[in-house]
Subunit: 220 residues, 2 copies
DNA sequence: GGTAATTTGTCAGTGAATTGTCAGCTGGAT
DNA sequence: ATCCAGCTGACAATTCACTGACAAATTACC
């Protein structure tokens, strides 16, 4: 899951970036409004954390521009305490949720997960696929209630696949969504990762579409 | 779909060529402005990725020359971050879209697909033909929602045919658009490929116009 | 803060699916 | 009937993905 954090305050931004990374998101950060707008406009993030008071272009403007350009990416607004008018404006401009500063990072994480989940059409934080259950909250996969040990990367991969079930996901797409920033293009890290997930969940969970990418296997 | 990448920076160019090839495009690359101009002027590409800062002849000049010579090929401009003026100039010179460096390749791919789609007069990335549906975004062909497994080359062929339905497409044209420059002229690879697609989608999808080429069959 | 354990990425070798080539065949146009 | 563009099945070459072993990086633990 790839998240854009648009926040000019370095301290806050670093807290967020580090917490979100640990929570398993791939995080990119922008410090000014114009850059934030451009990246949200041109790239596919799974969600955006947007501070309203950004230099160069303020958060509300950014959000309105995205929405009028048809960008539906879930947006979580950060707003200063007591500025309830801002909240209203934000929601009207198309924000999906908001959090008041100072905030608890855990709350941000929980809300982001909820947003991503809703955006991909799943209501609960637990998603079934085949005999397995994926719990986004605890980052665990289980079969019949028995937890299966997955490493963080393995979990990210299967979670991304489950969120995009029903279509083919290219290696490039996987790389960009489970790793931050750019990555070595000629690496077989994704193939190895797929192999490891298969070893844990059975070789049919992920099906190879040679030349295109991968899909969740039939029945998952 | 054949793409010309006009970019002098080797690292960027290689990233692009490799990613675009994997995404199913046939890619040719030129490193200087004059060669780029010549190839775009004399060959039929489905789209061009044009860096503005090319040696010998800069991107804007190339673009203006093409346009004044009546070349309508979709052009995606690569521009350095913050050069908003360039972007405006580019659009005035006839660019169809622009992307700021540094970019994410997924974005380039998405925008190129959109350009090609619009150029062939289709609004959506999903195109119906007969009982089938072609989805350029997920690179899948399906019948009644059930995906049909095609190999990459097979997909490229049927995609090209569907984009150019209603007219006869010569073997040479097919070769030029689904393979990169180094193709054998006296090979029956296209015939074999057509045969394989017919085997998967039914032998009437592609109709032979003996001596001229192929068309989508009646009702497709 | 340093060391052990775990996770993750790289590499080289292997295996399998895709694609191109070839040779012989088919069938439509004249 | 003949000719030749196009078709087809078999095979070879190529490309792409998988695997196991090792190295690097990250995390956990004292």
């Amino acid at each position: 899951m790839r998240i854009l954090v648009a926040e000019d305050d370095d301290r806050i931004a670093e807290t967020l970036v580090s917490a979100l990374s640990k929570a398993g998101f791939a995080v990119d950060r922008e410090r000014d409004g114009e850059s934030a707008w451009y990246r949200g406009d041109s790239e596919n993030f799974d969600a955006v954390v947007l501070d309203l008071g950004l230099p160069q272009m303020d958060g509300l403007t950014i959000l309105k521009r995205w929405r009028s350009a048809g960008r539906t990416v879930p947006v979580l607004i950060l707003t200063a305490r007591g500025q309830w008018e801002e909240r209203v404006d934000g929601i009207e401009a198309g924000a999906d949720d908001y959090v008041v500063k100072p905030f608890h990072v855990l709350e941000i994480i929980a809300r982001l997960r909820a947003l991503v989940r809703r955006a991909s059409g799943h209501a609960s934080s637990r998603i079934m696929f085949g005999p397995y259950q994926l719990d986004m909250r605890t980052m665990q996969v289980s079969a019949d209630g028995l937890p299966i040990e997955l490493t963080p990367q393995e979990f990210k991969l299967i979670a991304y696949m489950v969120h995009h079930r029903g279509r083919v996901v290219s290696q490039l797409e996987i790389t960009e969504h489970i790793y931050s920033q750019d990555y070595e293009r000629d690496s077989n890290a994704v193939e190895v990762l797929v192999g490891r997930v298969r070893k844990r969940l059975g070789k049919d969970v992920i099906k190879t579409r040679r030349g295109f990418g991968y899909t969740l296997g039939d029945g998952f």
